[in-house]
Amino acid sequence: MHDHDHDHGQEPLPDIALRVKAPESLLVDKGLVDPAALDAIVDHYEHKVGPRNGARVVARAWSNPAYRERLLADATAAISELGYTGGQGEHMIAVENGPGVHNLVVCTLCSCYPWPVLGLPPVWYKSSAYRSRAVIDPRGVLAEFGTVLDAETEVRVWDSTAEIRYLVIPERPEGTNDLDEAQLAVLVTRDGMIGTSRL
C-alpha cells in the first residue's frame, strides 16, 4: 500500500467536457432536467434512429404507388405511418429525383436535418463549406461527391429550417424489379437521401 497515493487525484476532464458538466449538473440540481431522460435521448440517437428509417420510407415509396402519392402529398403523415416521428415538431417534405431532376438538401444557417428518418447529420453536412457552397455551386459540390450531372439535369436545392426538413427520394436503380421492400431498403444510402449521391 502506498498511503501517499491517497493524495493523488485525477486529471480533470478536458475543459470542454467540464463546460458541459457544469450546465448539466446545475440544471439537474434545479430539477429542470432529468438525468435518465438525457441518457434515453443519447441511447435513442445512438442506437434507434438512423438512415435505415429513411431507407424503409424510400423503399416503400418505390414499391407502393399509393404510399408514394401519400409521401409526396404529406410526408410528415406518410413517414409517421411507419412509426417515425420528430421530437422537434418539424414538418417533413419529400422531394423526388427523376429523369432531368436532381434534389439536394442543405441547411445554410445551421444543420437542420430530418433526424427521425436519417439520424444525426454527418460531419460534412455541418461544415461551413457545404452549407455555403451547396447553394452557390450545387453542381460543383455534387461533383466532389462523385455525382456528375449532365447539363440538362435541373438541380433543385432545398434549404432546411428548424420547421421544415427535406427527404430526397432517390431514383430506383435499374434492374431491381424483382426485389421486395426489405431488399430495396438495403440499396438506399444516407447520402442518396440527402441528395449528394445517386444510387
Binding site: 485525477q10 475543459d15 462523385g146
Partner: protein, 114 residues
Amino acid sequence: MSAPDPLALPGLPKDEQGPIFAEPWQAQAFALAVRLNAENAFTWPDWAVALSRELARHPDDDGSGYYLHWVSALEALATERGLVTAHDLVSRKDAWANAYRRTPHGKPVELPMT
C-alpha cells in the same frame, strides 16, 4: 500504399458511417438541448437561431467544431433564458475540475455537498 482517393477533394470533409458522437461530452450537450426543448425551456426555432449565431462566428469550420459551437449556443441560450447564470457556469466548472483533482483514481468523481 494506397492510391489517392479521387473523392477526397479539398473543401468538403467526408465521413463514412462513423460514430454519431466522437466523445461523450458531445452526446451530453446534444441531449441537454433536446431535453430543454422538450421541457419547453425554449422552442426549436429559438435553438436554431442560437446555434446559427455561433456557427456564423466560425466561417472556416469544417464541421469538426460543430459540438463546440453547440455548447456555446447552449450556454448562451440557457443564460439568456435565466435557466443558469454565467457566474454559476464558471464556478460549477471550477468545482468539477477541483473534484477531479481531489478524487483518487478509481473513485467516482462527485461534487462536495454544499
